[in-house]
Each structure stands twice: as C-alpha cells, then as structure tokens.
Amino acid sequence: MKLLQHGFLAQAEQRPEAPAIAWKGERLSYAGLAAASHRIAHLLHGLGCRRGDRVVLLLPKSPLAISAMLGTLGADCAYTPVDLKNPAARVAQILAALDARVLLACRAAEKLVASLAAEGGIAPSLRVAWLDGEPEGLPAHATANDLARCPDELLPTLNGEGDLAHILFTSGSTGVPKGVMITHANVIHFIRWAIAHFGIRAGDRCSGHSPLHFDLSTFDTYGTFWAGAELHPVAPEMNLLPHKLAKFIRDAELTQWFSVPSALNHMAKAGAVCEYDFPSLRRLLWCGEAWHAAGLAHWMRRLPHVRFTNLYGPTEATIASSYYDVPALPEDETRPVPIGEPCAGEALLVLDEALQPVAVGETGDLYIRGVGLSPGYWKDATKTEAAFLPNPFAEEPGDRIYRTGDLARFAEDGALVLVGRADTQIKSRGYRIELGEIEAVLHAIDELEESAVVAVESAGIDGLAIACGYVPREGLALEPAELRTQLAARLPAYMIPSHWRRFERLPLNANGKVDRKALKELFASDGGESDRGGEARST
C-alpha cells in the first residue's frame, strides 16, 4: 500500500458496509464513499487532469469534501483544500501559485467564486466543476449532472509514494502564503505509526475537528480510514458554543478526540465538561500549539479513564514528529507540558547557530529530521533552501533537517520542552500566523505612514491576540474600522488584529527600528482589552 488512498480502498474492499463517515445524523459506508470518490476521479480525468496536476477544493467540511480529496488522489493529482472564509484575493493568489487545473466548488462557494471571477482570479486554463447544483452566470465546465454520469469504478493510477498528495498553505512572512508539499509517503508513515501506537481499530469513532485545510485533518481522515474506523467530522460552527461541542462528543460516543488545545480550553472554561464525562472516550490527543499544564490538569481530573497525548510537529514535517503520553496528573501546573520523544522514523535535534548540539538544559533551535519531512515549499526554492538544510551529521547525501523556528531545550529527565519562537510566527487559537504577512498587507495601504503588528496576551482569548499600532498619513483621521475593512479584503478573519492603537509615531529602539517590545508593553498596559470606543489615542 504505497498511496494514501490504498488503506481506505482496502477497507472498502474488505468491509464495504462498515460506516466510514457519520455526518449530521447520516452514515456513509466505506463502499459508498469509495464510489463517490471514484466518480470524482473520473470527472477530473474527463476535465483533462493528468498525473501531478493540482486541484483546489472550495468545499466546506462534509462527506462531499472528503470524497473530493480521495477522488483527487484517485486521479493521480494533488489537492489543496481552501477555507471558504478566505477573501477572494487570497484564493486567487493560491490558484495562481499552484497553476491549478481544476477548481472543485459547491453551492456554498458560489459567492466566493463569483468574486473570484469578477476580480479576474479564474485563469482561462482553470476548469471549474460544481459538485452540487448548477449555478447561473458563473464559469461551469462540469456540474452535478456530469458527476452523476461518471462511472463509480476505480481509475488506474500511475503515482508512486514520492508523488504529492496535497499542498497545504500556511501563513508566509513576506505577505504571500506558502504551499507546503506533502507526499503520499509523508502521511502514510505517520498514520501507520499512529494506528499502531494508539491502537486505533475498526469500531473506533474518531473526531474530525480540524479544518480540512489544516495538516492535522489528514490524521483525522486517513488515520481513521486506514484503521477501518468511523470518522465524525465536527461542523465548524460547533466550535462557537462549547456546550454543543461537548454534547457532540457525548452523543456520538467518540472514542478518540484530536484537536488544538483552544477547543478544549473553550469547553473547560464554559463548564461544559463534568466528572467522568464522555464514558466512551479512550484517547484525547492535542497538537498545533502548547497546552498549559493547568488546562491539561482540568481535563485529566475530570476524565481519569482517558489517555492524554501531546503531539508536536509543524506542517512541514507532516502532522506530528514527536509525542508525549502524559504519565500522570502534572505535579507542577506552572511548568510546560513536554513535547516528548520522536515518533518512529523521526529525530528532533536542538542545535546552536553553528548547527552543533547544545548541552542538556540549554536553549537552541529545534530541527526535525526524518521521513515526515516535506520536499519543500511549492515553487519556492529560496524559502525551501532557507528552512530545509543539508543534515550536518549526514552519512548519506540528500539527508535534510528542517528548521522549525521553535526554540527548545532538553530537560534533566530527557524530555524535550518548547521555550518559544526564534521569529515572529505566532499561534492564536491554533492558527499559525506570520505577523510579517499582516504587516506586508498593511504596508500596501496608502493611507498609512507606518504600522507594526505584535502579539499580546489577552484575557478573553486563548493564547495570543494580534495588536496593531499605526500612524496615518498626515492630515488623515484613519479609524481602525476602515483598516479592518481593508485587511479583510486580503486576509482571513483570524489574521485581522483585534487590538488597535493610533500613534503620532511608533516607538523606536536604539537602531531606529520599531521597538516591538515597547509596543507590546503599551498594549499590555491597556489591560489587554480591545479598543472599544474606537477613539484614537496617541502617545
């Protein structure tokens, strides 16, 4: 089984009637999902897709979106799921960067596709296929009727394990999102390890909490299917009300939960989890950002029957590279939860500037080596070379290490602990955000003289909030609401600063650069509250 769809197809062959996906009260069998994905593979083939072509998915989380992912793989192509909340300008950037062959859309994406078409974001070479309905006045090279006529049989494939399965876009510091290339082998290696390590099997009911454009969702989807288990995708709006989310876990009798910690904190803070809640739950896994020990302890005290595991790893190293099975309730709730030890086939190195290992207890840059490493960033040799370095300890040529940008140290007991970032990338509610990308968009706004973005601790928000200090061009009274509107045309909602402050000039350090530390302190002295009245203050 060398391709990502193979483990799924094997289950469809052996247990065709077993449930693959539970969604809004309905169940879709392995055979049903396989048939739906084969139709999409044929549709893509009919639209001219050939081995190695890129397919962009503008589909909300649903069984349809998952069949489109599998169908794209079945057509020997690589897919990129794109969040429908993105502004059209950002989707256009991704489509152009990928030189995508097909855009798979559905009714929910009509407005977005209309904006894309209006803004010239649909290249003449791009085919647009609608998987449900037939919109009027929009490009449509195929519709639901064409899909229904496609055969539901397996299409022969030519791909090998080193070919791309998907390209996932993350925030890029220069203002353009970066496409991380992920091969079939990258994902297969991780899910094989995870299924064995966690004992995932048929009969398990696994959460699908992460959005499909996030790397974590590939574990939800393929980890579940390779094990022959049942995937329970969580509708994104479920996150809004913590009691609903907890009820979902309870009612679905989930046996495995996997998410970013902010979703768990959200439920805890709302008091939505009671003692011995979720009696079916066996495993609770988190990834994507650090979970403070106090938050973990809150959950561990209530769910003594559950195994808790911290997974760590950036998208560039595929899902996770290390794990920490929490042995017991943390004794000291002020200490960070370790990221643990490497998953099979991976190595985590803490190195100094000369790429030499640092002593135990000393902080260094965290590098990852191993089979999970992405081939690099899509069509960006410069960024790839900067982040993926030749392994200085290599015995074989081509051996690489990935610079995560995380700072880490080995504790006395050998556990690896994260201590911060070497750059301005932040995690806010699980979203990975390069502050530089927000600044790049701000710098393109004519009415602004100067601007800088920093991350600040915030009372109401889990993790960090984004704060923007700005100086309007002379004579202009530029309100935060106006800047928000301009940013919203280029950036997804989660990247838009929630704290604003107008300055006559930004604080500078001795080198004449913006003093980010001082700027942070100014926001912190506001008590971490957003600028409610909208009145502009200056220093």
């Binding site: 809004l240 902010s262 609401a481 989660y494 957003s530 909208g534």
Partner: protein, 84 residues
C-alpha cells in the same frame, strides 16, 4: 416589529463599537463570514447581557441564533421579552 428593529440596530452598534466592524448588511451571514467566531461570541453575549440587562445562559443558546442580526434580535427578544 418596531421593537425588533430597534434591537437589530443595537446589535449593529455593538459590532461597530466593540469589534470595530461595519456590517455590510443586516442579513449578512455572521457565521460563514467569520464575523462571529468562538472568541467574539463570548464577548458578544457578555455585551448583550450588559447592554440589555438580560441573561443568556450558554446552555440555552443555539448556533443558528447567531447566524444573522435579525436572528440574534429574535433570540434576545425570545429569551428576555423585557429587552424588546
């Protein structure tokens, strides 16, 4: 009807004042667009409680109540008739 309109105006005002956001229209889908997310929903509920002197227990709220400004106004009026 008039009372509901007034509630709607006040909700639009909360978005403008509290979130620095001008809603392009009253029937915009607040959830699809991300204008209401898991953080803002908490602030929004607290702000509504403070402004209207009502109590909106999270357990009793439905996700669909937050879909649009009119739906939110209906929810407030239903939960706490005194507000409208």
């Amino acid at each position: 009807m008039e009372k509901l309109d007034k509630l709607q105006q006040q909700i639009v005002a909360i978005f403008a004042e509290r979130f620095e956001t001008k809603l392009p229209s009253e029937d915009i889908d607040l959830l699809e667009t991300g204008l209401v997310d898991s953080v803002k929903i908490v602030e929004l509920v607290l702000e509504i409680e403070a402004r209207f002197g009502v109590s909106l227990p999270f357990e009793d709220l439905e996700i669909e109540d937050f879909r649009t400004v009119p739906k939110l106004a209906e929810c407030i009026a239903r939960t706490a008739p005194a507000a409208a």
